[in-house]
């Protein structure tokens, strides 16, 4: 057991830190959250800077330990989040890399890495949330095209995306998991309607995407027809892997700021609050260790994140919600003011036990696939 950087990691960390020190001051001002074209441009620009500096591939195929160093250092330096590049770098890209043809890799991967194209995700549907395999968006083969009709939901960045990784049902007669196909859909194809979806935080982070006889070239299919479920699982394992590790660093920073605010407004005098902050500090320290442990395990097993991601996500989701509930305790009445720090974050933290697999689904995964408990009737 060793927590010290390897030679590779140490070198990477030093170079990255130095580069961040120079690069971050040159960034343009952050766009407002509602300015979608601005956000797209900002996020792509940041990815381009990373690419030019030799870091464009980090989320992609760097060793897990190096990637953890990247997450830690960028978060500590206050660098931009992956943002609009999330699906391209963490979902669609790795899927294409693993399952695509040579031609597909050549077409789709470089623009993702160079910060030129944005991808969005067309998986969930109104009737297929936790039960993703219940998806009903249909695709019929028509010559060298698929014709797609249906609707998708929870699609981030749909308004500004160039591509959508789309799951469709190509064989409605087959068992649920065996009639699904993975397609790359150009978002400027006729027949696509994007309707922004307002969240409880008041913003429009997601969209619904309606597809009305949308024609997708058959060579945009990744993997075999009706083999999309297996292709998808490759992608999801990335989402549940180390995707949240960087946020633990951010949570520890928030915790320090909360302690400062409590000292400032007098609530620090309440020993129960201090204890709650201390408990959270232990929680995030341990979660960071767990991230390191899981990353080392992934490294040892060839770089594929395992089921341990579900364990991490279950605990982290709870801890993040506790953190922002504690922030509300620190703020008192000010916790009702959306213009105060942490208040909006408290609202978005509510999604952590729901998005990317609810905590209930994660407990099923842990119970059945790690502990070997039966599925039950």
């Amino acid at each position: 057991m060793d927590l010290a950087d390897s030679a590779e990691e140490a070198g990477f960390r030093a170079r990255l830190r130095e580069w961040l020190g120079k690069a971050l001051p040159t960034l343009p001002p952050r766009p407002s959250p509602a300015d979608w074209p601005g956000r797209r441009a900002y996020d792509l620009g940041w990815q381009r800077m990373l690419y030019d500096a030799g870091y464009g591939h980090v989320h992609w195929d760097a060793p897990p330990g190096v990637r953890l160093v990247f997450l830690e250092e960028t978060e500590k330096a206050g660098a931009p989040y992956v943002g609009a590049n999330f699906v391209g770098l963490l979902h669609a890209g790795p899927t294409v890399a693993a399952e695509g043809t040579q031609a597909q890799r050549a077409r789709w991967l470089p623009p993702i890495l160079r910060g030129e194209e944005v991808w969005c995700q067309g998986f969930s549907e109104p009737g297929a949330g936790s039960d993703l395999a219940a998806l009903r968006t249909r695709a019929w083969r028509d010559g060298d095209h698929y014709v797609v009709t249906g609707s998708k939901i929870w699609t981030s960045h749909a308004e500004v995306a160039d591509w959508c990784e789309l799951l469709v049902r190509t064989d409605p007669e087959a068992p649920r998991h065996h009639g699904i196909t993975w397609l790359a859909l150009p978002m400027d194809t006729p027949g696509i309607t994007v309707r922004p979806l307002r969240t409880l935080a008041g913003s429009t982070e997601f969209a619904e995407v309606f597809l009305d006889e949308v024609r997708v070239p058959a060579d945009h299919r990744v993997g075999e027809e009706n083999d999309g479920w297996r292709v998808t699982m490759v992608t999801l394992s990335f989402e549940r892997g180390t995707a949240f590790a960087g946020e633990v660093v951010a949570c520890r920073r928030v915790l320090g700021e909360l302690a400062q605010e409590a000292r400032h407004n007098g609530r620090w005098d309440d020993p129960a609050l201090r204890r709650r902050l201390g408990r959270l500090n232990a929680e995030f320290r341990a979660l960071w260790r767990l991230a390191q442990w899981n990353v080392s395990a992934a490294e040892a097993s060839g770089g594929v994140p395992g089921l341990a991601g579900s364990v991490f996500k279950l605990r982290y989701a709870q801890a993040r919600q506790d953190l922002y509930d504690t922030a509300a305790d620190v703020l008192g009445d000010a916790a009702l003011d959306l213009d105060r720090p942490w208040v909006l974050d408290r609202l978005t933290s509510l999604s952590y036990t729901i998005a990317a697999g609810t905590s209930q689904i994660q407990r099923n995964i842990v119970g059945e696939r790690i502990l070997g408990l039966p599925k039950g009737r």
Binding site: R198, G202, D329, D333, S359
Partner: protein, 331 residues
């Protein structure tokens, strides 16, 4: 002992429920959440006509002459539909502020460092010369779209000075509203669990969801017993208990309801978030620790229990027995 609603109380509750369903159903709630906060004056007057504000005012003063238990039932229904507005302040002002009893005047009150519905109110009570009506109050961007809030700049620091003792009736009526919110959360969760299907069955068939719903109900039922009990006794420790358990039932209930709703609950369209935000906005939710202390003090220190009369409505000293006895009317 007959700790159940009387026939009259049931009729009163049903009457309030019927009026509210007609005037402020889910459609009106969603519409209200989609526009800048503004009070529906016609609805306010309709509430006045129905006796909502004058409920506890003696008949000799033109009121309905009912007591705390009836008021609790009415405010529970208001909480259940997330009825917006400074209902409690206006109710408490009935008979003292002209027009409050009839719903012609909207009365709000300063609560610690904040005021709700300041710009819509005709009368602002309290504030101790901190210039509420003047230029001092600052609008904040309220987390609840249906509870506009102003902050008072000269609010005392959190830990300074002795605690202000809130009006026990206001605390109890807030508990009643929270109980209503908790009930709504439970109803929404159960309805969703019954109808939403995943993996080929209603999600309420899965124990993970079913047991969340069961715990929602348990919290509601325990809070209900505490709130109704406090309405009968008007005992300060009972009131503190009621508020504590009703707050928990509302906040945790809304959270669990959101979990049952899954992604749909995260949308603005679903009303779940409004239930949660309203529960957060109840006055002094962070003051739970203080209320725990008062639960304890009042019940364990005999000298505090003697102070129970402090809990009855200030306008009517010794009014507890009157409140308990006067159940002969309906709104």
């Amino acid at each position: 002992m007959r700790f159940q609603l009387s026939g009259d109380q049931r009729a009163l509750r049903d009457g309030v429920r019927e009026v509210l369903a007609r005037r402020f159903g889910p459609r009106e709630l969603r519409a209200a959440a989609d526009r800048p906060p503004a009070l529906d004056r016609a609805l306010w007057r309709a509430l006045g006509d129905a006796g909502f504000f004058a409920l506890r005012l003696p008949e000799s003063e033109g009121g309905v002459g009912l007591g705390l238990p009836e008021a609790v039932l009415a405010f529970e229904e208001a909480g259940r539909v997330l009825l917006p507005g400074p209902l409690i302040a206006t109710h408490l002002a009935a008979g003292r502020v002209p027009g409050a009893a009839t719903g012609e005047a909207v009365v709000t009150a300063v609560d610690g460092g904040r005021v709700e519905w300041l710009t819509e109110a005709d009368v602002v009570e309290g504030g101790g010369g901190r210039g509420v009506a003047g230029s001092g109050a600052v609008a904040l961007r309220s987390v609840d779209p249906l509870t506009p809030l102003h902050r008072l700049p000269a609010a005392p620091a959190v830990s300074a000075g002795p605690e202000a003792v809130p009006d026990p009736v206001a605390v109890l009526l807030t508990a009643a509203e929270q109980l209503g919110g908790a009930t709504r959360a439970c109803e929404l969760a159960v309805q969703h669990a019954r109808t939403r299907e995943q993996f080929g069955q209603p999600i309420g068939g899965f124990q993970a969801v079913k047991h969340l719903c069961a715990e929602l109900l348990v919290r509601v039922e325990v809070a209900r017993a505490a709130v109704y009990g406090a309405a009968v006794t008007a005992d300060p420790a009972d009131i503190a208990t009621a508020r504590l358990l009703a707050d928990e039932a509302a906040v945790r209930g809304a959270r669990d309801c959101l979990q049952v709703y899954g992604g749909m609950g995260f949308t603005w369209e679903a009303e779940v978030h409004l239930v949660l935000k309203r529960a957060w906005c109840a006055p002094d939710v962070p003051g739970a620790a203080r209320r725990v202390r008062s639960c304890w003090r009042a019940s364990c220190c005999p000298e505090r229990v003697a102070g129970a009369s402090a809990c009855t409505d200030g306008r009517r000293p010794g009014g507890v027995s009157m409140i308990v006895a006067s159940t002969d009317h309906t709104a």
